[in-house]
């Protein structure tokens, strides 16, 4: 693999508007939800603190339970853009005409997208933590960042799902919307199962990883499932892409 090309791809993603929008959206959500918690009535804080399971504070609880669902819309774009943005601007054909196999091309693009996402997400998380501390005063920043790190397999699954759907759907917009819809359904499924008192959500649902982090539930098994499902989606998408006519 041409590491310079990989580095160039990562640099392109990091310098794109998508990156700045992602960090901006994370910051805005942190601000809005922080202010809601800060200026809500005592009753709400008490209710939230009662709901917030485990050692997570109110902010982290809302972050994982509410904000992450909205953030998925931005996360899927990293998966959708692996090939969709090249299709959108018409350069896919030009790039695939180069002396590089489709598999090598895809592996490079996938790694670049994941690498860039990791950097953006963690940088955004640092900013979010600083905003939360600034508004509310009490947040264990290292613990918050560690929890975001553990949530990465959830994001990996969502990116893999978006990539898989981008192969048949081709347009970025429909890929983003479809993968977001599926991610939301998976999110709601575990949330609804909690509301019916089913206990800790199934480890098979990658979208429940955030909640499991909050309640200090075992993480190894759901992480393995998330990695396996992601690998299957990436592999299936790759095979499909390699075989199809461009």
């Amino acid at each position: 693999m041409n590491l310079y090309l990989l580095y160039t791809d990562i640099k392109n993603i990091l310098s794109s508007k998508r990156t700045s929008y992602t960090i901006l959206i994370m910051a805005v959500f942190a601000l809005v939800f922080g202010l809601v918690i800060r200026f809500s009535s005592e009753g709400l804080r008490t209710a939230l603190e009662a709901s917030a399971p485990g050692s997570a504070g109110v902010f982290e609880y809302m972050w994982f339970e509410d904000v992450l669902k909205f953030l998925l819309l931005v996360v899927v774009s990293f998966g959708a853009f692996i090939i969709s943005d090249l299709e959108d601007d018409g350069t896919l054909g030009l790039i695939l005409a180069r002396p590089e196999s489709r598999i090598a091309f895809l592996v490079r693009r996938i790694l670049a997208s994941l690498g860039a996402f990791f950097i953006v997400f963690m940088a955004g998380a640092v900013l979010v933590g600083i905003i939360a501390i600034g508004i509310m005063g009490d947040l264990d920043l290292p613990l918050f960042l560690l929890h975001q790190f553990f949530a990465l397999p959830l994001c990996l699954f969502v990116i893999a799902l978006a990539f898989f759907l981008s192969v048949p759907l081709r347009t970025t917009t429909y890929t983003v919307i479809s993968s977001f819809a599926i991610s939301l359904i998976l999110s709601f499924t575990y949330a609804f199962s909690l509301m019916t008192g089913s206990g800790t959500p199934s480890p098979l649902n990658p979208l429940a990883l955030g909640y499991r982090i909050l309640v200090n539930a075992p993480l190894v098994e759901p992480m393995i499932y998330a990695f396996v499902f992601s690998a299957v989606l990436f592999a299936a998408g790759t095979v499909w892409f390699v075989k199809k006519d461009i």
Partner: protein, 265 residues
């Protein structure tokens, strides 16, 4: 050729294209998922602790269910996802797909074009939403103790159609302002998320209640929510809520038409 443009044919044509498309499928699947999920949750959710069980104990089952369905779920689903889904690329899509020159070379005014996009989105939404909610009524009636007040249920459905009108007017303006479809959808989603936050938290403080009253979401859930207090369905308040929601939408529609009229395509 000397003929009047068949406005209604244009609208119906586009409406059916929306319904029988991927976005129509997503909207239908999402809606049935929610009905199924709520129906599945209902028998046990009221037994669990937490806010929902408290509300079930405090208010009638009918009102508590309406709050859960409309205020808790649908006001979010409709305003931030389903309504934007139908119009987010109404204008930006024709621009990026380079269809604008061909379409606007037809004998239609720019105002007609914008109204056609909005009308077909609204019609598609209504044709999907009301029947699915009708099915939901029969599913939920059997599950809610004492049944559901049919008038209140469907009156709220109509207010939600008006809420979708507001959301679509906003999303259409965004679609006219931005060039890319994805940015249009993200902007619509983000804006609607912020707009519905106040109403979603209206029971938590007076400040948030006051903010909620500045959004159409509050009036859409007026008869379905026990917060700040329950309201019985009456014709004049119902019409008042309907008019208020529509009035919220009109400035956005006006701005869209104004923007689109001035543009070089």
């Amino acid at each position: 050729m000397d003929s009047q443009v068949n406005f209604s044919a244009m609208i119906w044509h586009r409406t059916f294209r929306i319904i029988f498309s991927l976005r129509g499928l997503i909207a239908i699947l999402f809606s049935f998922y929610f009905i199924g999920a709520i129906a599945w949750m209902l028998p046990t959710i009221t037994e669990q602790g937490g806010v929902i069980a408290e509300i079930w104990k405090t208010f009638s089952s009918d009102l508590a269910f309406s709050w859960l369905l409309f205020d808790g779920a649908l006001s979010k689903l409709v305003s931030i996802f389903i309504a934007p889904l139908f119009v987010f690329d109404a204008i930006s899509g024709d621009k990026t797909g380079e269809r604008m020159p061909i379409i606007m070379s037809r004998p239609i005014t720019r105002t007609q074009y914008v109204l056609m996009k909005l009308s077909s989105g609204m019609l598609a939404f209504t044709l999907l939403f009301l029947p699915i909610m009708g099915i939901g009524y029969f599913v939920f009636s059997g599950l809610v103790e004492g049944g559901l007040d049919v008038a209140n249920y469907f009156a709220t459905c109509i207010l939600f159609v008006a809420l979708a009108f507001f959301c679509m007017a906003v999303c259409l303006l965004i679609s006219a302002l931005v060039k890319k479809n994805l940015v249009s959808f993200l902007a619509a989603f983000g804006l609607m998320s912020i707009a519905m936050t106040a109403n979603a938290s209206k029971n938590t403080s007076d400040a948030l209640l006051a903010s909620a009253q500045l959004t159409p979401h509050y009036y859409a859930t007026y008869f379905a929510s026990p917060f700040p207090e329950p309201h019985d369905l009456e014709i004049m308040p119902f019409l008042g809520c309907l008019v208020v929601i529509i009035l919220f939408a009109l400035p956005f529609l006006y701005l869209t038409i104004l923007k689109f009229k001035k543009e070089d395509l």
